[in-house]
Protein backbone atom coordinates (compact mmCIF):
# COMPACT_ATOMS: atom_id res chain seq x y z
CA UNK A 1 0.00 0.00 0.00
CA UNK A 2 2.73 2.37 1.00
CA UNK A 3 4.57 1.48 -2.16
CA UNK A 4 1.51 2.28 -4.22
CA UNK A 5 1.22 5.69 -2.65
CA UNK A 6 4.92 6.24 -3.11
CA UNK A 7 4.69 5.19 -6.73
CA UNK A 8 1.71 7.47 -7.34
CA UNK A 9 3.51 10.33 -5.66
CA UNK A 10 6.70 9.63 -7.54
CA UNK A 11 4.75 9.70 -10.81
CA UNK A 12 3.15 12.92 -9.69
CA UNK A 13 6.59 14.37 -9.01
CA UNK A 14 7.64 13.52 -12.56
CA UNK A 15 4.50 14.85 -14.20
CA UNK A 16 4.02 17.94 -12.09
CA UNK A 17 7.66 18.79 -11.43
CA UNK A 18 7.37 22.25 -12.98
CA UNK A 19 4.74 23.15 -10.39
CA UNK A 20 7.19 22.73 -7.52
CA UNK A 21 7.50 20.11 -4.85
CA UNK A 22 4.70 21.41 -2.67
CA UNK A 23 2.25 21.15 -5.55
CA UNK A 24 2.92 17.50 -6.15
CA UNK A 25 0.52 16.19 -3.57
CA UNK A 26 -2.49 15.03 -5.53
CA UNK A 27 -6.05 15.65 -4.37
CA UNK A 28 -6.38 12.09 -3.13
CA UNK A 29 -3.16 12.13 -1.19
CA UNK A 30 -3.29 11.57 2.51
CA UNK A 31 -0.08 11.05 4.43
CA UNK A 32 -0.27 9.23 7.73
CA UNK A 33 2.85 11.01 8.89
CA UNK A 34 5.60 13.21 7.56
CA UNK A 35 8.02 10.36 7.00
CA UNK A 36 5.54 8.92 4.54
CA UNK A 37 5.32 12.29 2.80
CA UNK A 38 9.10 12.63 2.70
CA UNK A 39 9.47 9.12 1.38
CA UNK A 40 7.10 10.13 -1.38
CA UNK A 41 9.29 13.12 -2.09
CA UNK A 42 6.82 15.61 -0.65
CA UNK A 43 7.61 18.32 1.87
CA UNK A 44 6.58 21.86 2.86
CA UNK A 45 2.86 21.30 2.29
CA UNK A 46 1.12 24.67 2.64
CA UNK A 47 -2.17 24.99 4.51
CA UNK A 48 -5.01 24.66 1.99
CA UNK A 49 -3.01 22.39 -0.27
CA UNK A 50 -3.86 18.72 -0.76
CA UNK A 51 -2.11 16.61 1.81
CA UNK A 52 -2.01 19.32 4.46
CA UNK A 53 -3.38 18.14 7.77
CA UNK A 54 -2.98 19.73 11.19
CA UNK A 55 -1.38 16.60 12.72
CA UNK A 56 1.39 16.94 10.14
CA UNK A 57 2.01 20.56 11.12
CA UNK A 58 3.44 20.07 14.57
CA UNK A 59 4.62 23.64 15.00
CA UNK A 60 1.31 24.99 13.70
CA UNK A 61 2.91 27.43 11.31
CA UNK A 62 0.75 26.62 8.33
CA UNK A 63 3.37 24.49 6.62
CA UNK A 64 3.15 20.74 7.15
CA UNK A 65 6.08 18.32 6.95
CA UNK A 66 8.70 21.02 6.69
CA UNK A 67 11.89 19.94 5.00
CA UNK A 68 13.94 21.01 8.02
CA UNK A 69 12.22 18.37 10.14
CA UNK A 70 10.25 20.88 12.22
CA UNK A 71 7.13 18.77 11.91
CA UNK A 72 8.80 15.43 12.62
CA UNK A 73 10.21 12.79 10.38
CA UNK A 74 13.53 13.02 8.66
CA UNK A 75 13.57 14.21 5.06
CA UNK A 76 17.23 13.26 4.66
CA UNK A 77 16.38 9.62 5.34
CA UNK A 78 14.01 9.42 2.39
CA UNK A 79 15.05 6.97 -0.23
CA UNK A 80 17.41 5.17 2.13
CA UNK A 81 14.97 2.31 2.50
CA UNK A 82 14.75 2.76 6.26
CA UNK A 83 11.48 4.60 6.28
CA UNK A 84 9.90 2.55 9.05
CA UNK A 85 12.70 3.41 11.42
CA UNK A 86 11.49 6.92 12.17
CA UNK A 87 7.78 6.47 11.61
CA UNK A 88 5.96 6.93 14.87
CA UNK A 89 3.10 4.50 15.34
CA UNK A 90 1.48 7.06 17.60
CA UNK A 91 1.14 9.63 14.86
CA UNK A 92 3.26 12.72 14.49
CA UNK A 93 1.59 14.93 17.07
CA UNK A 94 3.22 13.14 20.00
CA UNK A 95 6.90 13.72 20.71
CA UNK A 96 8.93 10.91 19.21
CA UNK A 97 12.50 12.15 19.27
CA UNK A 98 12.71 11.04 22.89
CA UNK A 99 11.23 7.54 22.86
CA UNK A 100 10.53 7.36 26.60
CA UNK A 101 9.89 10.71 28.27
CA UNK A 102 10.95 10.46 31.93
CA UNK A 103 8.63 11.70 34.65
CA UNK A 104 9.72 14.64 36.78
CA UNK A 105 13.22 15.89 37.36
CA UNK A 106 16.57 14.25 38.05
CA UNK A 107 18.01 13.29 41.45
CA UNK A 108 21.48 14.67 40.94
CA UNK A 109 23.04 15.35 44.33
CA UNK A 110 22.94 14.37 47.99
CA UNK A 111 23.83 17.78 49.42
CA UNK A 112 26.99 16.39 50.96
CA UNK A 113 29.12 19.41 50.08
CA UNK A 114 26.57 21.99 51.17
CA UNK A 115 27.66 24.84 53.44
CA UNK A 116 27.87 23.30 56.88
CA UNK A 117 30.27 23.36 59.85
CA UNK A 118 33.55 23.34 57.92
CA UNK A 119 33.39 26.86 56.41
CA UNK A 120 32.31 28.25 59.79
CA UNK A 121 35.34 26.70 61.46
CA UNK A 122 37.63 28.11 58.77
CA UNK A 123 36.04 31.53 59.14
CA UNK A 124 36.41 31.40 62.91
CA UNK A 125 40.09 30.49 62.59
CA UNK A 126 40.68 33.40 60.20
CA UNK A 127 38.97 35.80 62.58
CA UNK A 128 41.05 34.49 65.47
CA UNK A 129 44.28 35.07 63.54
CA UNK A 130 43.24 38.54 62.49
CA UNK A 131 42.48 39.34 66.12
CA UNK A 132 45.83 37.94 67.28
CA UNK A 133 47.75 40.08 64.78
CA UNK A 134 45.87 43.21 65.80
CA UNK A 135 46.80 42.52 69.42
CA UNK A 136 50.44 42.01 68.41
CA UNK A 137 50.49 45.28 66.51
CA UNK A 138 48.99 47.31 69.29
CA UNK A 139 51.46 45.81 71.76
CA UNK A 140 54.34 46.62 69.41
CA UNK A 141 53.08 50.16 69.03
CA UNK A 142 53.12 50.68 72.78
CA UNK A 143 56.76 49.66 73.11
Amino acid sequence: MKHTIAAVAATAVLVLAPLGVAGTASAQTRYDNCQEAFDAGVSNIQRGEPGYRLPLDRDRDGVACEADGADGGSPSASGSGSQDETVSSSGSTRPDQVTVVPEGGAETGDGSTETGAAPLVAGGLLAAFAGAFVVRRSQAGRR
Partner: protein, 212 residues
Protein backbone atom coordinates in the same frame (compact mmCIF):
# COMPACT_ATOMS: atom_id res chain seq x y z
CA UNK B 1 53.83 53.81 59.70
CA UNK B 2 55.61 50.57 60.29
CA UNK B 3 54.46 47.51 58.53
CA UNK B 4 53.55 44.28 60.19
CA UNK B 5 56.69 42.73 58.73
CA UNK B 6 58.82 45.43 60.34
CA UNK B 7 57.23 44.65 63.67
CA UNK B 8 58.01 40.99 63.32
CA UNK B 9 61.60 41.57 62.17
CA UNK B 10 62.72 44.35 64.53
CA UNK B 11 61.22 43.24 67.79
CA UNK B 12 62.38 39.89 69.12
CA UNK B 13 59.28 37.85 68.41
CA UNK B 14 57.75 36.12 71.41
CA UNK B 15 57.23 32.40 71.04
CA UNK B 16 53.48 32.80 70.55
CA UNK B 17 54.08 35.05 67.53
CA UNK B 18 56.36 32.48 65.95
CA UNK B 19 53.75 29.81 66.52
CA UNK B 20 51.07 32.02 65.01
CA UNK B 21 53.23 32.80 62.01
CA UNK B 22 53.93 29.12 61.49
CA UNK B 23 50.26 28.22 61.60
CA UNK B 24 49.48 31.12 59.26
CA UNK B 25 52.11 29.89 56.82
CA UNK B 26 50.62 26.41 56.88
CA UNK B 27 47.15 27.88 56.30
CA UNK B 28 48.41 29.99 53.38
CA UNK B 29 50.08 26.95 51.85
CA UNK B 30 46.86 24.99 52.27
CA UNK B 31 44.83 27.76 50.69
CA UNK B 32 47.21 27.89 47.75
CA UNK B 33 46.98 24.12 47.37
CA UNK B 34 43.19 24.11 47.54
CA UNK B 35 42.76 26.92 45.03
CA UNK B 36 45.33 25.52 42.62
CA UNK B 37 42.93 23.32 40.60
CA UNK B 38 40.86 26.33 39.55
CA UNK B 39 43.85 28.02 37.94
CA UNK B 40 45.04 24.91 36.13
CA UNK B 41 42.25 23.59 33.90
CA UNK B 42 41.46 19.91 34.34
CA UNK B 43 39.68 19.59 31.02
CA UNK B 44 41.06 19.85 27.51
CA UNK B 45 40.10 23.32 26.21
CA UNK B 46 37.44 23.38 23.49
CA UNK B 47 37.40 25.69 20.49
CA UNK B 48 34.74 26.60 17.96
CA UNK B 49 33.67 23.84 15.55
CA UNK B 50 35.71 23.49 12.36
CA UNK B 51 32.56 22.55 10.43
CA UNK B 52 30.03 25.33 11.02
CA UNK B 53 26.84 23.58 9.97
CA UNK B 54 23.65 23.24 12.00
CA UNK B 55 22.36 20.33 9.95
CA UNK B 56 21.81 17.51 12.45
CA UNK B 57 24.31 14.66 12.42
CA UNK B 58 23.45 10.97 12.08
CA UNK B 59 23.05 9.04 15.31
CA UNK B 60 26.25 8.11 17.12
CA UNK B 61 26.68 7.32 20.80
CA UNK B 62 28.46 10.00 22.81
CA UNK B 63 31.77 9.29 24.55
CA UNK B 64 32.54 12.38 26.61
CA UNK B 65 31.39 15.89 27.42
CA UNK B 66 33.21 19.15 28.23
CA UNK B 67 31.68 22.39 29.48
CA UNK B 68 34.52 24.84 28.97
CA UNK B 69 33.37 27.78 31.08
CA UNK B 70 33.12 25.74 34.30
CA UNK B 71 35.99 23.36 33.48
CA UNK B 72 33.67 20.36 33.73
CA UNK B 73 34.38 17.19 31.79
CA UNK B 74 33.47 13.54 32.03
CA UNK B 75 33.04 10.39 30.06
CA UNK B 76 29.39 9.54 29.41
CA UNK B 77 27.54 6.59 30.88
CA UNK B 78 24.33 5.56 29.09
CA UNK B 79 21.34 5.87 31.44
CA UNK B 80 17.64 5.06 31.01
CA UNK B 81 14.66 5.21 33.36
CA UNK B 82 13.89 3.36 36.59
CA UNK B 83 10.73 1.44 37.44
CA UNK B 84 8.95 4.70 38.29
CA UNK B 85 9.85 6.08 34.84
CA UNK B 86 12.21 8.59 36.45
CA UNK B 87 15.45 9.31 34.66
CA UNK B 88 18.36 7.28 35.97
CA UNK B 89 21.53 9.02 37.10
CA UNK B 90 25.06 7.68 37.60
CA UNK B 91 25.80 6.48 41.16
CA UNK B 92 25.92 9.28 43.73
CA UNK B 93 29.14 7.62 44.93
CA UNK B 94 30.83 8.59 41.64
CA UNK B 95 29.57 12.18 41.37
CA UNK B 96 32.27 13.03 38.81
CA UNK B 97 30.53 10.77 36.27
CA UNK B 98 28.01 12.27 33.85
CA UNK B 99 25.30 10.24 32.11
CA UNK B 100 23.67 10.43 28.68
CA UNK B 101 19.96 9.61 28.37
CA UNK B 102 19.97 6.73 25.90
CA UNK B 103 16.20 6.73 25.24
CA UNK B 104 16.53 10.02 23.38
CA UNK B 105 18.66 11.37 20.52
CA UNK B 106 22.44 11.23 20.57
CA UNK B 107 24.11 14.65 20.91
CA UNK B 108 24.27 16.26 17.47
CA UNK B 109 21.31 14.23 16.22
CA UNK B 110 17.91 15.87 15.57
CA UNK B 111 16.08 16.39 18.85
CA UNK B 112 16.85 17.06 22.50
CA UNK B 113 19.84 15.05 23.73
CA UNK B 114 19.98 14.96 27.52
CA UNK B 115 23.00 14.69 29.83
CA UNK B 116 22.63 14.40 33.61
CA UNK B 117 25.31 14.97 36.26
CA UNK B 118 25.50 15.33 40.02
CA UNK B 119 26.06 18.67 41.73
CA UNK B 120 27.67 16.72 44.58
CA UNK B 121 27.79 13.29 46.17
CA UNK B 122 29.63 11.40 48.86
CA UNK B 123 31.10 14.63 50.22
CA UNK B 124 32.66 15.63 46.91
CA UNK B 125 31.80 18.10 44.20
CA UNK B 126 30.00 16.52 41.27
CA UNK B 127 30.78 17.01 37.57
CA UNK B 128 28.08 19.71 37.37
CA UNK B 129 28.90 21.39 40.72
CA UNK B 130 29.17 24.76 38.96
CA UNK B 131 26.46 24.27 36.34
CA UNK B 132 24.51 27.26 37.67
CA UNK B 133 27.49 29.44 36.70
CA UNK B 134 27.07 28.57 33.02
CA UNK B 135 25.92 31.51 30.91
CA UNK B 136 24.31 32.04 27.54
CA UNK B 137 26.90 31.77 24.78
CA UNK B 138 29.10 29.29 26.65
CA UNK B 139 30.37 26.38 24.59
CA UNK B 140 29.78 22.69 25.24
CA UNK B 141 31.51 19.89 23.33
CA UNK B 142 30.40 16.26 23.12
CA UNK B 143 32.75 13.73 21.55
CA UNK B 144 31.04 10.88 19.70
CA UNK B 145 31.90 7.37 18.66
CA UNK B 146 31.84 8.33 14.96
CA UNK B 147 34.91 10.52 15.48
CA UNK B 148 33.03 13.80 15.52
CA UNK B 149 32.87 16.24 18.41
CA UNK B 150 29.51 17.97 18.35
CA UNK B 151 29.64 21.62 19.43
CA UNK B 152 26.81 23.38 21.24
CA UNK B 153 26.19 26.96 22.35
CA UNK B 154 24.22 27.61 25.53
CA UNK B 155 20.92 29.38 24.84
CA UNK B 156 19.36 29.34 28.30
CA UNK B 157 19.95 28.33 31.92
CA UNK B 158 16.91 27.78 34.12
CA UNK B 159 16.23 26.57 37.63
CA UNK B 160 12.99 24.69 38.07
CA UNK B 161 11.14 22.98 40.91
CA UNK B 162 11.38 19.20 40.43
CA UNK B 163 7.65 19.02 41.14
CA UNK B 164 7.01 21.38 38.22
CA UNK B 165 9.68 20.07 35.92
CA UNK B 166 9.48 21.58 32.38
CA UNK B 167 9.17 18.17 30.75
CA UNK B 168 8.04 19.44 27.35
CA UNK B 169 10.78 22.06 27.12
CA UNK B 170 13.42 19.51 28.08
CA UNK B 171 12.25 16.33 26.36
CA UNK B 172 9.83 17.60 23.70
CA UNK B 173 10.62 17.39 20.00
CA UNK B 174 12.79 20.13 18.55
CA UNK B 175 13.34 21.32 15.00
CA UNK B 176 17.12 21.09 15.26
CA UNK B 177 19.80 19.30 17.26
CA UNK B 178 19.68 20.34 20.90
CA UNK B 179 21.40 19.49 24.15
CA UNK B 180 20.17 19.74 27.74
CA UNK B 181 22.34 19.40 30.84
CA UNK B 182 20.58 18.65 34.11
CA UNK B 183 21.78 18.78 37.70
CA UNK B 184 20.39 19.62 41.12
CA UNK B 185 19.99 23.03 42.72
CA UNK B 186 17.85 25.16 44.96
CA UNK B 187 17.03 24.44 48.57
CA UNK B 188 18.40 21.28 50.14
CA UNK B 189 16.13 19.01 52.15
CA UNK B 190 18.82 17.87 54.59
CA UNK B 191 16.87 14.99 56.07
CA UNK B 192 16.07 13.54 52.64
CA UNK B 193 19.47 14.46 51.13
CA UNK B 194 17.52 15.84 48.23
CA UNK B 195 17.38 19.15 46.41
CA UNK B 196 14.08 20.82 45.61
CA UNK B 197 15.09 22.07 42.16
CA UNK B 198 16.88 21.12 39.00
CA UNK B 199 19.26 23.42 37.15
CA UNK B 200 18.84 22.93 33.41
CA UNK B 201 21.13 24.21 30.67
CA UNK B 202 19.66 24.45 27.16
CA UNK B 203 22.09 24.48 24.22
CA UNK B 204 21.89 24.42 20.42
CA UNK B 205 24.06 22.43 18.05
CA UNK B 206 26.19 24.61 15.80
CA UNK B 207 28.67 22.32 14.10
CA UNK B 208 31.34 19.72 14.63
CA UNK B 209 35.07 19.06 14.66
CA UNK B 210 37.12 15.87 14.51
CA UNK B 211 37.60 14.29 17.94
CA UNK B 212 40.86 15.50 19.50
Amino acid sequence: MRSLVDDLVRTPPPRSTIALAAVAAVLLALAAFVSAPSSVPRCTPIGPPTHLDRTPLPSSDPIGITVGSIDACSSLLAVGVDAQKRIEVPSVHTPEQAGWYRLGPTPGELGPAVVVGHVNGDGRDGVFADLDDVERGDRIAVSRRDGRTASFTVTDVVQADKDAFPTTAVYGDTRDAQLRLITCGGALDRSAHRYDDNVIVFASYDGWSRNP
